[in-house]
């Protein structure tokens, strides 16, 4: 059933990433330092750190929606235009929520900071690592900040550290996208993407469980 919604082949989809990175270069390189900035901000207590890290994440959602979906993925999939709107919408939601609640202070315990920081580092390193292990070209990897799955993992890392309670409406789009990625990657036999999507789903579920049951 799901194959009716996927009008492209696995190799063409992977090729899209290579073309996207090449065409938007050096965006993938510029995104990386932002990842390190976020990691440092999550590790240290400061008033502006949580706001800045969430605004960076919001900007990445807007970029991924407008550029990855709206300019590139739309070549292969008519629905990408709508995915683009949804991603931009998520970015606007995160930014709005951040600015509206900018005076709220969250004081996470060290363990929470470690978990959040690890998720951000994971979002930067996981896909290239999987590519290396599976001996697939690095250009097929999903790179930090400018592609959906690493962005979702990083978003959960930032949320778990900077929000006392993650609003469920900020999770609807990440959850929906991860489920879509799991289904499509399985259908296309893209096991790299499947593994990444499973990690993203684990990050979401784990962050919620941690927040609800372990965090005080």
């Amino acid at each position: 059933m799901i194959d009716r919604l996927i009008p492209y082949s696995a190799d063409v989809y992977q090729g899209l990433f290579a073309f996207y990175y090449l065409d938007t270069s050096p965006a993938h390189l510029i995104a990386l330092p932002f990842g390190f900035v976020i990691t440092v901000m999550l590790a240290r207590h400061s008033k502006r750190g949580p706001i800045i890290s969430r605004l960076i994440i919001a900007a990445f959602w807007i970029w991924t929606g407008a550029i990855f979906h709206g300019q590139y993925f739309t070549d292969l999939n008519w629905a990408a235009e709508y995915f683009g709107y949804v991603f931009v919408g998520q970015g606007v939601l995160i930014a709005s929520h951040t600015l509206i609640n900018r005076n709220e202070i969250c004081r996470p315990e060290p363990l929470t900071r470690v978990i959040g920081g690890m998720l951000v580092v994971l979002s930067m390193a996981l896909s290239p690592t999987i590519a290396a292990i599976m001996e697939t070209p690095i250009s097929h990897a999903h790179l930090f900040g400018i592609t959906p799955l690493p962005l979702i993992i990083a978003t959960m890392g930032v949320f778990v550290v900077t929000l006392e309670r993650i609003p469920p409406w900020l999770l609807a789009i990440p959850v929906t996208w991860v489920v879509w990625e799991i289904l499509t990657s399985q259908t296309l036999g893209l096991w790299h993407d499947f593994a990444l999507a499973c990690v993203a789903l684990t990050a979401i579920v784990g962050s919620i469980a941690y927040e609800r049951h372990f965090r005080r």
Binding site: R4, P7, S9, V12, G15, L16, F19, D75, L76, W78
Partner: protein
């Protein structure tokens, strides 16, 4: 089965010469010329019985290497007598890629351009017709269809108007995956359309029950999508031995077996398998020069397939 009438060498000799095998027992209606052409009932125009689809295979985005490779696939298609090329705005970049390929071929003689309108919006339907002409680089289309019956009433009216203006030669409707047959039948019985497109293959023969007989009865040309069930039938037959008797009608692979089954139905006008490989295209097109099995042998094909 037919060895007692004619030996293999003689038969192959006849086939190699593109000869007709009408005299062979079991090949009742095998008197088809090479390549196999089928008439469009509404006009009598004849088109090759094997065309090509573009779902997934021609949706390669901006990748120049893949676009050039698809150009070679299309070249093989035309070189081997191909005609109908079917696409849709739903297929991502497929129409854009088709335009790229057509522009690079020295000759597209025989092209029978077919695409679709696929939107719930009336105004977008008009835009899609213009977009398809621009993307393919054509100022006239042979066939425009309403994809999956989406907003079919209004789109058919619009397409009929364009047909009267001379921008489109034929109009039609499509479904796939065996869906919405009742609605399709209702349209076939009440509206003046030239083509219908639906799924038919050796594993999904629902169309034999009502769609194909109605099309024959109403004089509507038929396009068959998913003759290999998106490769599923190829996978299902992989590694399995071909029935020995099919070599007598020139079938040497399961792909040929499956395609032959589809195009040998008398009410089928054109099957549109999709492929991104030159060798597979050559294999598909090669079937048009081979004899077709008569009804008895078609039944045997079903039985042998179901025994797998």
């Amino acid at each position: 089965m037919i060895d007692h009438c004619i030996n293999r060498r003689t038969l192959l000799g006849l086939l190699a010469g593109g000869a007709v095998t009408a005299a062979l027992p079991g090949f009742g209606h095998a008197a088809a010329p090479a390549p196999l052409m089928r008439p469009i009932p509404k006009s009598g125009e004849r088109i090759p019985a094997v065309g090509m689809g573009t779902w997934i295979t021609f949706n390669v985005g901006q990748n120049t290497a893949l676009r050039d490779q698809r150009t070679e696939v299309l070249r093989t298609f035309f070189d081997m007598g191909g005609g109908m090329v079917d696409s849709s705005p739903m297929y991502g970049s497929a129409e854009d890629v088709m335009g790229y390929c057509l522009e690079r071929l020295p000759s597209t003689k025989g092209l029978f351009s077919a695409t679709k309108v696929w939107t719930p919006s009336d105004s977008e339907g008009v835009e899609q017709v213009a977009d398809s002409m621009r993307l393919w680089g054509l100022n006239k289309f042979d066939l425009f269809q309403v994809h999956n019956l989406v907003n079919w009433e209004n789109h058919l009216a619009m397409l009929r108007e364009r047909k009267q203006q001379g921008d489109i030669r034929y109009i039609g409707i499509t479904t796939s995956h065996g869906g919405r047959h009742d609605e399709m039948l209702r349209i076939m019985n009440t509206k003046d359309i030239d083509f219908v497109q639906f799924t038919y293959n050796i594993a999904d023969r629902e169309a034999e029950r009502r769609l194909l007989p109605t099309a024959a009865d109403k004089g509507i040309a038929t396009i068959i999508n998913r003759p290999y069930q998106r490769g599923g039938l190829i996978s299902a037959t992989a590694g399995k031995p071909l029935p020995a008797w099919v070599s007598e009608i020139g079938i040497t692979s399961w792909a040929q077996y499956l395609l032959t089954f589809v195009i040998s139905h008398p009410a089928v006008t054109c099957a549109i398998p999709a492929t991104s490989k030159i060798e597979h295209m050559a294999e598909n097109m090669g079937r048009m020069a081979a004899p077709l099995p008569a009804p008895k042998l078609r039944n045997r094909m079903i039985q042998d397939f179901e025994r797998l």
